[in-house]
């Protein structure tokens, strides 16, 4: 295993001079980036499901796959017929390893394939020794020569793997179709530390064509783990933009009044970043090129983009409008967090850690640290939405909207029985890698199923939908903990005025 880490690291150090491959294309004259996936459930009695998939290599990809599979086997009767819950997934915001599964699901979910052909993902990627494929490529002398001379970059090996095994030259145009879930692949702008979501409005900001970017490139940008992989690079074409980019009045308003930095600092920073990317007036940063690393550096849960989709009026998702129009009766948010916590030998080691251990720490610790903040911010927003829906006057169309906030997190596996302890230890021991052994894949999938089924808000959702799912061998008794984001609406007499 150590050799598997050291070989790419040696190549990384040897090939210190990276290339200058620009991966994006400009918008041609008159060209636009239309959004072809309006969000919102087909009817208010059907849930609108938003998800985030965290980073964590194939472990994260497999955990997301397990949760999706469980949802695809959960059936309920809506006013317009029988459905499975994967039909109701409106948006997935993903990072790194989670992006592998999100993009696959986005390309494959459709009528007749409501599970997103998860068996195909399992066969083509999760059960393969992808690290061996990458290493075989890396020990090829021609590849070495290319890496050392900068003719090819280290990220291209990963892009090639994704393209050959998963996405087969599909571009983002294949995801940007009516009936598809909105897949938001998140990267980190390594110069500014900003989350750069691969969505049409961001491509407008850099005057670039969204539809033409290969899915494999977008996923590789989301999963460009620092140091081992080179960044994915974009050019900002705003300087001489010939395309038709959408007007963004909100940017001008947010940046020209003194209140926004105090009332809504997150939106102010977003406006400032968009203004800089658009080469607008009084830039904070002068941006000509963008270099993307793993999305987990800025937000390893992908919750920033989900929060924007939920509440920002200018977001492509337009979900706030759907909520205010009363089109969302049940809002389900599922956060899939594949953060593991494998045993760390440093706790048993008296010697000061060496270079490899330090590199490992500086690339992993910040990713783990920002996860808690992201979760807290999203929980607070869901709580506010639930309060708003519960207290709304009868004229408000969002009144009575039910909120189900579900987190799938290894730390929720209890240590109360030998079976649970064994599951927890096996799941948390799976390393971050593009290869999983059979037992590692099994442990990850078992943990995903277990955690989803056990969550109080999942159980509340199933009860409210009168949904059914296949029985699981050795399944635990349901927990008697209430779903904290779901507030019971007390029906009282109508106001007299």
């Amino acid at each position: 295993m150590r050799a598997r880490v050291l070989l790419p690291l040696c190549i990384a150090l040897l090939a210190g001079c990276a290339g200058n491959h620009i991966e994006n294309t400009p918008l041609a004259a008159g060209e636009a980036n239309p959004v072809l996936r309006p969000l919102g459930p087909a009817s208010p009695d059907r849930p609108a499901i938003l998800m985030t998939f965290s980073g964590g290599g194939s472990r994260a990809a497999a955990l997301a796959e397990a949760v999706l599979r469980e949802m695809s086997q959960t059936r309920y009767a809506g006013g317009d017929g029988s459905h499975v819950l994967t039909e109701d997934i409106e948006l997935i915001s993903s990072v790194s390893g989670g992006s592998v599964t999100a993009a696959w699901f986005g390309l494959h979910r459709g009528p007749g394939h409501w599970d997103g052909d998860l068996d195909g993902l399992r066969a083509d990627f999760l059960t393969k020794d992808n690290m061996a494929t990458l290493e075989l490529d890396a020990v090829n002398p021609i590849t070495w020569l290319g890496l050392v001379t900068g003719r090819i970059t280290r990220i291209e090996a990963e892009e090639a793997l994704f393209d050959a095994q998963l996405y087969h030259r599909a571009t983002l145009a294949s995801l940007n179709q009516p009936g598809r879930p909105d897949i938001v692949l998140n990267t980190t702008d390594m110069a500014g530390g900003e989350t750069f979501a691969m969505v049409p409005r961001r491509f407008d900001d850099v005057c670039s064509n969204y539809d033409q970017l290969p899915v494999a490139t977008a996923v590789a940008a989301s999963a460009a783990f620092p140091i081992l992989l080179t960044p994915v690079s974009f050019k900002d074409y705003s300087g001489n933009c010939q395309g038709r980019v959408r007007p963004a009045e909100w940017i001008k308003i947010d940046l020209s009044n003194p209140y926004t930095p105090y009332l809504n600092l997150a939106e102010y920073k977003d406006a400032r970043y968009s203004n800089d990317l658009r080469h607008g007036p009084d830039p904070y940063r002068r941006i000509e090129y963008l270099h993307f690393l793993d999305g987990g550096l800025a937000d390893n849960l992908g919750t920033r983009s989900l929060r924007s989709a939920l509440i920002a009026p200018y977001d492509d998702a337009q979900l706030l409008r759907a909520i205010n129009d009363g089109k969302v009766g049940r809002l389900v948010v599922i956060v899939v967090n594949a953060r593991s916590d494998p045993p760390n030998k440093l706790y048993q080691q008296p010697q000061q850690p060496g270079l490899v251990d330090q590199i490992n720490a500086v690339t992993s610790v910040p990713i783990d640290a920002n996860t808690a903040n992201s979760e807290t911010a999203l929980s607070a927003l869901l709580g506010e939405l639930a309060q708003a829906a519960a207290g709304a006057q009868k004229q408000a169309k969002f009144g009575g909207m039910q909120i189900y906030g579900i987190t799938v997190d290894y730390d929720q596996i209890p240590a109360d029985t030998p079976a649970h302890i064994a599951l927890r230890d096996a799941a948390k021991d799976v390393p971050t890698s593009w290869s999983l052994t059979g037992p590692q894949l099994q442990a990850t999938e078992d943990a995903g199923r277990f955690l989803l089924r056990r969550h109080p808000c999942w159980q509340a959702l199933l009860a409210d939908l009168d949904a059914s799912q296949p029985a699981m061998v050795g399944e635990d008794q349901a927990l008697t903990i209430p779903c904290t984001t779901r507030i019971e609406i007390k029906k009282g007499p109508a106001p007299s005025s």
């Binding site: 009026p313 939405l385 004229q395």
Partner: protein, 71 residues
């Protein structure tokens, strides 16, 4: 979370624009984040042309009322 209600003509329901983007319709409570907004309606034939100001400190029981009328 903040609450506004944009009034116009109950017989002529319009889309409400907050700083350029549609967030809902007239004559009903709308939720949005605290901020400074420029609020307008879609279509023509209303006055004033826009409302601008802070949306902050509202509550579900006490939304900010933003009135428009026929021009």
């Amino acid at each position: 979370m903040e609450y506004i209600r944009v009034t116009f003509d109950p017989g002529d329901i319009r889309d409400v624009l907050a700083s350029g983007d549609i967030i809902g319709k007239t004559e009903t409570e709308l939720i949005l984040q605290a901020n400074y907004y420029v609020v307008a309606l879609t279509g023509a034939g209303y006055t004033p042309l826009y409302w601008h100001g802070l949306v902050s400190g509202t509550s579900v029981d006490n939304p900010l009322i933003i009135p428009f009328s026929k021009a």
